[in-house]
Symmetry: D2
Subunit: 363 residues, 4 copies
């Protein structure tokens, strides 16, 4: 793992700026002979792409992916897969007036503090456009995982509003523009978000992502823990400020009796062998000691409200002068919406990596 | 970063089991010419070591560290530093009866699922004893950071009890056995924890760790983000289930106006140069876009209640038979207490690594 | 370091096949604020590109590089630099008849043994086209090294012919199509190689690459040795079969008295300080104990003769049937010629990486 | 791979100085359930240990290895294996008089140039004692490879003397103190080396190491090449100055017709399936395009003569003053002898790593 690379055996390196000619990623370590074409990737990019509803930025990007290497006659070859997405709708004039001011809550100041230079057009490298590469890499990771592992994600909190767990329906997430797994909340939140959007404000959110079908035994005991890698993956998503596995921060308020998920013998298989054990609860979120239990893997992360708002905020210029900043560009009133496909992608990537790590060591 | 190694340039690899002859770590990448002796490390180990109050496991371990390499005439040489801590009070008979059962909430089942073998004595590698190596490595990381960077940590929530922020006093943490930075809460929590201990139960906690003096510019923009590395570091600590930076999970409920930390010009230095900008709040927890802002770095993580309790819990044996498990060994009623020095150590380690990474790229 | 990535802090990942739409590389870890444009890179690509003389493959490739990211207003930004070179003259029909046979001496058989699939058009990923990415990355590495470090390389042996050391003139290498640093040998070898080319045969070579201006102290003592990294770098070049540092394989025949380079005090600087010590010889090739001595760094490597020849060779098909293979495509009679700019690039890359590693640890 | 760590999935980190209390290594990534005890490792350490004949240093070290972690009830557990070897016969007084002078051909000067400090007792970290850790790690790597892969190594050149290939007998290497696979040469060389030893001089050597039983398909195409990793491994051995695979540096003098190893269909298996192809020669040394061919893997490397000799050599002190250095300590007249078990170990380590890498990606 390094600056712009994620993963150990399934490794992808992303490149490109918001307003450069293109963005993309190089994926290394992919097993050979997986069927893969651009449509396999495009379906997930389409979910993330901007401009699909009034709740996301109105930038118009087809986000059309091209496979430049690593696939031959419809199959992966085991060599690096280069995926490229050309930038089309850059409109960099939107950003011209803030080129020399630091937008509060954005990475403008810290980039300059680190590098002494930044591509200020659309946030450059810190733009959410980078996440298109993650979604593309996630589509390849899903191919490695196969059909036995399914991923679902959705927005479970928007601002102060939280879904009703009894209404949770992962199939509902693709039926509303907010990717909310509670159909009733989805409607209510939509009108709420419309008001926020019109007022030029923004709101935070919590995303939940789950994986079913992961066998017991993936992960590692101390530093390559499955949960530590998920924490790193989710926290690396733009605007993320907190990550939870299973009971999460709420585990602090539990007693030992409440927390430890009890186990019962699994259902015998038809050949008489023991089936996987049955757990009576899942406070662990499917991970104990850094290793999967065979239960559903459950992760959540918060995203802060986008800092690009119409209300003037106090800031300073690159020269250290006081100024007020108003962000007039096209922005998302709630970045949590578009974080949903990204969350699924990052979960897929971590799992594919650990599947290969487990196979390497334990055969 | 790999299975048992943490870090990129400041890298340490821990080894050893709870009931083996010794535990320790190999630290590679340490700059030369830092003064270092065993006492520098021992002071931090003493804070973490068990058996110091009735609130932690009664296992008696001196946790005396030996420097086996990498230091010559009181100075680091730039070569690997091997730190070894001998295990003294193993009493493995405590564990004999659960050698073939899976303790709920522990890593017993997952270790067997992964490896087909586990050192069941005291949890083997998944024991909290491993964290002594982290504390030792953290002491070396502090030498790299120097005196300009100070670290403080404490237990800010125990069960349902949360400190009063207006009473927050980091200096109080070393004056009570709970490492609680709120002196009033500390007393109340102590009597509460005493009841929990006597009843054979346990409780979770939240630890907060802060770093002052980190300059703006440390970190990296996309996957080697300072916050992503902190998330990985904290989530890798035994029993951790959630990690927060700054506003954390609570960022979801903020609006854009509330969240983005406004900036004012810093105080001019005596030579007329601009001082670092002043932030009017710190929802960012000192990190924007993965890079430090120059503010206080603020991280929090939850730890679940220890799963070793006296109440019988339903489980299964290695042969898949139903059984009840009661854990009679010596254990902590609240592992959050001993997590405090570990949290400081992991923060120091991540910062030292990023200090060197920043120097490498940006000179 | 991984499958398709080279380097620790200066890291580049290459991608692309000989007959795909494009090849390229992603370079991560580059310091910010270096001036860089396409011309800086193109000049080195022009040296390597095919079809420039009758001694190299007649494939016509402009090898025009595009910078897709990581450079803003003529300066590096510290973020990943994506370099892309489109493939133009693929003529894949040349390869059709050998798509199902294994060319002796090529990677055809081993790719299929590993992956069960290969892009047989022009060798796919094992084609020498991959080395264009190395040359491009090397151009960026040179920017990091600055003008104080100069690199020179040339072909010092072709078949049985070896240059006369007393005629060694590094400035001569760019004045003859063989990159030979002995102007007299260059003429003789050219006519010799012409005969080899016309007969459809090929011949091996030895390349020497030297670096001047490297200060004492770069490298690492045990596994990140400067010489071990150079060995890995040179052996990773297509067709390489041996690598030498300084006295190389010939060190075996030396005595201790002959081998150890004696030292004398360096010339005092104008301010009275000691200058770097003077060595009376350089059997070490500028590296002792894995760390640079301040002398010239000297590496050599052999490349085997290209295996694509007109004489029929016994082989087998993918189905295990006996067959004879004749390679009719466009090929180099001596791949050593085009290996010269690649050798310089790989030397620059290893040095830039170690410069940053040294700065990280030793400040 | 980093400063003191070697390998990707089979990773070992060595630590310890020649005259410190102990040396050792931490091995991470070892598969579980391999039978392993100290005797498995000790047998190889005994081959390398000093003081066994008059041809190696007279330092008396039992080199008794202790397994401190990672093995439970005679089986590996999949967790880090810590191996420790205590230093016994340090006699550091031998070195006192050269503590402030740089021995020509040694790493004294470069260590000081890099770190500004060095443990001058016995060369500290650059001592050949570090290689005991490699031999220990190699013993574990052999367990991963299993009995189907056999390793052999021997000294094939000493000074100007080269073995006769027709007398090559790998079984002879353990029957003579020079590890020479040519029994006739072994006798002659022994008396020659005796003279060199008595005269206080030293001589270089070439070591050859081969592996049988490696299946086709291990390795990687571009930077994780099997031959590049072997080059790095062999060049990292103390005193190594050149590395060859198969035809090695001699490949330069071959023509395409001579070099490319022709292939014939393999012998049908009893079930009618194709056997592995038969190669008519092995100039490739068992590796094409970075991937194993199924033939014998053949590597060679040169070691320079030890620089510790009785003849005074010109040098400088740490203060930059001219001085003469004579090394009076206990040293090897030909370090090539003890390099033989080290070479086998490094070959085993690289192969075990690639076995696991191949399994991870290709199943």
């Amino acid at each position: 793992m390094s600056y712009n690379t994620f993963g150990r055996l399934f490794r992808f390196t992303t490149w490109g700026e918001s307003h450069g000619p293109a963005i993309g990623c190089t994926i290394d370590g992919v097993p050979p002979l997986l069927s893969l074409d651009e449509a396999d990737i495009q379906q997930y990019l389409n979910e993330r792409k901007p401009g699909q509803s009034k709740y996301t930025t109105q930038r118009q990007e087809p986000d059309a992916v091209k496979i430049l290497s690593g696939v031959f006659e419809g199959k992966t070859t085991g060599t690096p897969i280069q995926l490229m997405i050309e930038n089309v709708d850059q409109r960099s004039k939107d950003y011209g007036d803030i080129a020399r001011s630091y937008r509060p809550g954005h990475a403008d100041f810290t980039y300059n503090a680190k590098y002494g230079i930044r591509d200020y057009r659309g946030g450059g490298r810190s733009s959410a456009r980078e996440t298109a590469s993650r979604v593309a890499a996630g589509a390849v990771a899903r191919k490695i995982l196969g059909d036995g592992i399914t991923l679902k994600a959705g927005m479970v909190q928007m601002g102060h509003h939280i879904i009703e767990r009894e209404r949770l329906d992962w199939n509902a997430t693709r039926n509303n523009p907010l990717f909310c797994p509670d159909p009733v909340a989805a409607k209510h939140w939509a009108s709420e978000l419309d008001k926020i959007r019109k007022s030029g404000s923004s709101v935070g959110a919590i995303i939940e992502v789950v994986a079913d079908g992961v066998p017991a035994g993936w992960g590692a005991p101390v530093y390559g823990k499955l949960d530590a890698d998920l924490a790193s993956a989710m926290m690396s998503i733009n605007a993320a400020k907190g990550v939870e596995i299973g009971a999460g921060m709420g585990a602090a308020a539990l007693t030992g009796e409440e927390n430890a998920d009890q186990m019962r013998p699994g259902i015998k298989k038809s050949d008489g062998a023991d089936g996987p054990p049955e757990f009576l609860s899942n406070n662990a979120g499917g991970i104990l000691g850094g290793i999967s239990t065979g239960q559903q893997i459950v992760a959540r992360f918060s995203v802060k409200p986008t800092s690009s708002i119409l209300t003037p905020r106090m800031s300073i210029t690159e020269d250290g002068e006081a100024t007020d900043v108003v962000t007039k560009g096209r922005h998302d009133p709630c970045v949590g919406i578009r974080a949903v496909p990204i969350a699924e992608a990052m979960m897929a990537i971590v799992l594919a990596d650990h599947m290969m790590l487990h196979r390497a060591q334990c055969g």
